[in-house]
Amino acid sequence: MECNCIEPQWPPDDLLMKYQYISDFFIALAYFSIPLELIYFVKKSSVFPYRWVLVQFGAFIVLCGATHLINLWTFTPHTRTVASVMTIAKVLTALVSCVTALMLVHIIPDLLSVKTRELFLKNKAAELDREMGLIRTQEETGRHVRMLTHEIRSTLDRHTILRTTLIELGRTLSLEECALWMPTRTGLELQLSYTLRQQNPVGYTVPIHHPVINQVFSTNHAVKISPNCPVARLRPAGKYLPGEVVAVRVPLLHLSNFHINDWPELSTKRYALMVLMLPSDSARQWHVHELELVEAVTDQVAVALSHAAILEESMRARNLLMEQNVALDLARREAETAIRARNDFLAVMNHEMRTPMHAIITLSSLLQETELTPEQRLMVETILKSSNLLATLINDVLDLSRLEDGSLQLDLGTFNIYTVFREVLKLIKPIASVKKLHVSLSLAPDLPEYAVGDEKRLMQTILNVVGNAVKFSKEGSITITAFVAKPETLRDSRAPEFLPVPSDNHFYLRVQVKDSGCGVSPQDIPNLFTKFAQNQSTATRNSGGSGLGLAISKRFVNLMEGHIWIESEGLGKGCTAIFIVKLGIPERVNEYKLPYMPKMPTNHGHTAFPGLKVLVMDENGVSRTVTKELLMHLGCDVTTVGSSDECLQLVSHEHKVVFMDINVPGTDSHRITSRIHEKFAKRNERPLIVTLIGNTDKLTKENCMRIGMDGLIVKPVSLDKMKSVLSDLLEHRVLFEGI
């Protein structure tokens, strides 16, 4: 009945047991609720990375709780089942807690590092905050600069610009004083030009070569300078410490610094100095952003100043030009008035002077015709001579003025060139022979007999030139040559502006007058053609004349589209006067008197050239016959020869034209031509030499011209062609058929 197992139903320490019982119960409770709480909160947060750990923890706690719970049953006698359950629970708990303990070794360092990262991020955030603050301040500065620039650039007036700068800077930076020192004209001193507070600064100057100033000028940054520096002593010394002073250089860019295509090199040496002073009783310091603002503003000021300078410069130039314009206008009007006055004067003189002159000359000539004593005759002759001279002078002067006005026009007409030269010779021969000068005239054979031009004035020009030659030669000879100027020789190196253009109905006549007189020295040559300029040598002072002759001749020559000049090797070496004038070639006039045609009764079919004696030389019998027939058909008296020797034998002065039919112009034609030239020295007796040729080119034509032929005809020659060719030939004495 009594069992041996001691199973206290209730232990004797009843109270202690009770408390342990209660504690175990509460521990178990707590141990069960903690995981529940953890699960609840972890479920709420999604970020927690260590779920597995939590599960472990939960298991550990649950099992601990279970252990403590099961412990409750061990206070009272319990069955074996309870003991085994207890054991299982304890074993599991032990397992899980060991595993958990091992896991914690990994986890806790991680958790700690999370903390470090958090700290780092916080610091970063603080830094960013600071930078944001800085950027905001910079933006503020930029805004200030823009506003300042806007203010400064809104005017082009230098003073306004500077004044505005100082005012705005003062306001923006709350400065006590702001001043600008400009370099003086000499560049050796800086002069106080503008200040903020004082309205009219005294012209206080400071020498420019001060170490502090040099330092400021050497960099384009704003430099903090000592308040004791001469440039900074702007305020009267106060009780308080003066505020910090900053100085910055302002480059003064000149107009010459701006090249067209590149930016100005900042190698300019002129700087102004801007000094900024903080309020003296504040503890303010210059901040970096404030300095940057100052530098930016200074640059803008420099540009604005240059613009202002450019504007001033251009305004000045414009004013100058306007003044000059006005002056020129006035001068022009005065000149016009003078010209008009002169013209009026000349017009009056023209009439008024000529009338009495005419009267004197006429009456003196009439007087000459009457009965006079020798003395009286002498007197009248002198009067006549003097009045003639005077009349010439008046005419010359008036002519010249008309020439200069451009109101003189040439009287064009057809005239005989030979006649003109003969006349000149006739006029000059008496005077020349008195002076025992020999005058010779040489006219080129290719000179056309007739030309179109102003005969009177051409004669005047030739006469003037020849007259000068005679006047200025005491002995020796005068040679006059005239020929047609060839195109190559027309361009004279001495007259580069003379650009003659040969054309089909004009030719250029070149006349050269060479004398063996006193010559002209090279430095006088340019003056020869100016009005009233006379060669000052004593020999000529007695020769009279007005000195207008050459000037007038030059005007005439220019009117004839030519050129006149004088060449001389020096004093005592004679001189040559040369002029070239453009003359027209007269139209073919059919009823023109051909000097070599004796009048014969006209014959039907032979009206063209009756009796014209011609010689035909042709080695080819057939073509000789044809040419002969052709010419006979035109009425010519034709003699034919078959070789050059025969030709030379038979040619006589009766033959007017020699036709040479040469296959190739070679030595034969050359020989014949030169022999004919030799045989008939006098130009008028020589027959014209014409060659007929099959085809030709420019070279052949030039060759023919060169060897002295008068004409060239291209075969085949029709009747009409021969007719027109012969008429041209006989009229002009030259015919080179154009290619």
Binding site: G621, H633, P716, L719
Partner: protein, 153 residues
């Protein structure tokens, strides 16, 4: 008068064909213009002169070109040149053109070419001679029949 008309028409045809075929050119017409009552036989005379000259020249050329040992091209050229001159004087266009070609071969001293050209020139010359002789015969016939030579153009 029918005969005269017929002959005249034949003459015109013949003359036209001469010009059309290029055997003669305008120079021949010019020659015909030169013939008048003062020189009534001018054309015939000139043409006969031409025939004489040409035959001599052609013989010269043939002989010169037949030389086995070295052809004297200068001589040949001179003859061709003469023939060219004569033919152009009377307006024998084809003969003249043949001569021009002949000359270039002479300059090149090409014997074969020269022989060929000589053949051509001879051929043209014979053609010309025939044609002109028939033309002249027609003229005679017209004149004998009492008609007048129609003037071309």
């Amino acid at each position: 008068m029918d005969i005269v008309n017929q002959l005249q028409r034949q003459f015109i045809d013949h003359s036209t064909s001469l010009h059309r075929e290029g055997i003669v050119d305008d120079q021949f017409t010019e020659l015909q213009k030169l013939q008048d009552e003062n020189s009534p036989d001018f054309v015939v005379e000139v043409v006969s002169l031409f025939f004489e000259d040409s035959e001599k020249l052609l013989n010269n050329m043939a002989r010169a070109l037949e030389q086995a040992q070295g052809v004297d091209f200068k001589q040949v050229d001179a003859s061709v040149h003469q023939l060219k001159g004569s033919s152009s004087s009377i307006g024998a266009m084809r003969v003249k053109n043949a001569c021009i070609a002949f000359r270039s071969f002479c300059e090149a001293q090409n014997r074969e070419g020269c022989l060929r050209c000589l053949q051509k020139v001879t051929h043209e010359y014979s053609l010309l001679k025939n044609k002109l002789q028939s033309l002249f015969r027609l003229e005679q016939q017209i004149l004998a029949a009492g008609g007048s030579i129609p003037v071309a153009k």
